[in-house]
């Protein structure tokens, strides 16, 4: 049973002449780490809004096709019901945190699930430990750094024990070290909990190493879908995806006539290939 399964999913916002998303069919298996990318307006946000019922509950328009999350058809489900299956983390953690202490914030969602308080407390403790913020429980969110705030936002989602987590550019407000750090936390949770991860991201340099799959959307449709090595090619470049800089460098070298077979997506892969040539 796939974690997410879309069949011919289309959506047109009220007042729009053309669909923002058209005939999207895809299936994401449990435990996958998928990057969803594409130019602004490609439909990726629309797709994510369907996953937790924001479309059509909060954004009106015409939906067509089917979407199953955790084998539950989202049609007619409330965002609250769907949040048991799928958790969301947004760009700016400040928008997700509002309590007086980190612990209260992490507990907010899970306490609304109506589970026994003892279990709720256990889950909060576990979520804070899993994201490495157990020492911050008494702090006020505004006392935290951006990276710590984003960890708290992830912990709040994690405590609800969703089987899928969707992160919408979760590092864009963070400095590069905190960004790498957060991506590391996400990858660890994906590995250890088999948490299906859908990461919406433009900055492919820092996230590609962790993903088993990249889906590129363009003009409302799925344009490319495969491993990062397979997807980061000429078509992705034409669509206007910001490929990792080492991938771009190898593309330039191939254009210069070097018969390079590999398509590196990380610095390590690129440096290993170049070192073999320079050392021979």
């Amino acid at each position: 049973m796939p974690a997410i399964s879309a069949r011919n999913l289309s959506f047109t916002y009220v007042g729009a002449n053309t669909p923002s998303m058209e005939n999207v069919s895809l299936s994401i298996e449990k435990g996958e780490f998928v990057i969803l990318t594409g130019p602004s307006g490609c439909g990726k946000t629309t797709f994510c809004r369907c996953l937790n019922g924001l479309i059509p509950n909060f954004y009106s328009g015409e939906v067509r096709g089917d979407l199953l999350v955790d084998d539950v058809n989202v049609n007619g489900k409330s965002t609250a019901e769907l949040s048991k299956h799928i958790g969301f983390v947004f760009q700016n953690p400040e928008n997700q945190l509002f309590s007086l202490s980190v612990e209260r914030d992490v507990a907010f969602g899970v306490e609304n699930l109506g589970i026994p308080q003892e279990e709720a407390l256990e889950r909060v403790k576990w979520a804070m430990k899993s994201t490495g913020i157990e020492n911050l429980r008494e702090k006020a969110p505004y006392e935290l750094s951006g990276g710590q705030q984003q960890r708290a936002a992830i912990a709040g989602v994690l405590a609800m024990k969703p089987s899928i987590i969707v992160l919408d550019e979760p590092t864009s407000f963070l400095d590069p070290r905190s960004a790498e750090d957060i991506v590391g936390v996400i990858a660890k949770l994906n590995q250890e909990l088999q948490l299906t991860t859908l990461l919406v991201e433009h900055r492919l340099d820092i996230v590609s190493r962790y993903a088993n799959r990249v889906i590129v959307m363009d003009k409302g449709k799925v344009a490319l879908d495969g491993s990062p090595q397979a997807v980061y090619g000429d078509q992705a470049r034409l669509i206007g995806i910001g490929l990792p800089k080492v991938t771009t460098l190898f593309h330039l070298l191939r254009r210069d006539g070097f018969p390079i077979a590999t398509n590196p997506i990380t610095v390590e892969q690129a440096s290993s290939e170049l070192r073999k040539v320079l050392h021979q």
Binding site: G147, D175, P176, R177, K245, V246, L252, V267, Q280
Partner: protein
Amino acid sequence: MISVNNTSFRYIGASSDVLTNVNLQIKDGEFVAIMGENGSGKTTLVKMFNGLLKPRVGSVMIDGTDTREKSVAQLSRDVGLIFQNPDHQLFAETVSEELSFSLRNFGFNEEVVKRRVTNILTALDLEKYVDSSPFVLSGGERKRVALAAILVWDPKHIIMDEPTIGQDYLQKDRLRNFIVQLISQGKTIVIVTHDVEFVAECKPRVVLLSKGTVIADDAATKILTNDELLAQASLVRPQIAELMHQLPISGKTLDIIDAYAAREFLVPKLREAVQTSGHWR
């Protein structure tokens, strides 16, 4: 010329300075990136350029005038500050209203207002939204509207706080070209950013802040390859700089931070290696 002299600043009620003894001169037509960790004082510093904040100690001079002698409205005519969060700036019901507002306040006639608004919307690929509400646009588009709303009155110095956040690759590319165009018109451009890849592509002068102090002020190629400085400011090497660092090549690899420079450097070395061995590897 933007001139910051022995300037310190602390917020009312705070127990310590956000900025400590900052000295910085930015000449007309320069392109400068202010980088540093979250909370290093970057945004506080640029808020002094248009007088939103006034120094507690020292002075900030814009084209020879102390910011304390002018109102924000007066300073804004010459110093355009684009906030990180466009929602702190946007208020009008349509994009064209948003852009016209300041021009009318500055006393331009309607014909000039209309022409300027049209020109800037075209330049920023926003003309199709002229009658839209800024609030139905995507985050990236709202950011461009906020930029347009400042550029439209043609300030001499343009300050952008985190302009690349939420922008896709094509928009970043467009922003870069736009900055180049503005510099060639003699504008001063200051960006506050922690986007090392964007800086590696644009190669501005970099002013590095950490804990309220300027810890370095040098070319992007020098700063983005200096591990000690990068660690202090919670930055990382750009990908290409890291790659060059890992290669067993001595010499001038240290200054290479973008793919095109790396290619120029590597091609002869690789040709030589391939020629000697007769094959790629």
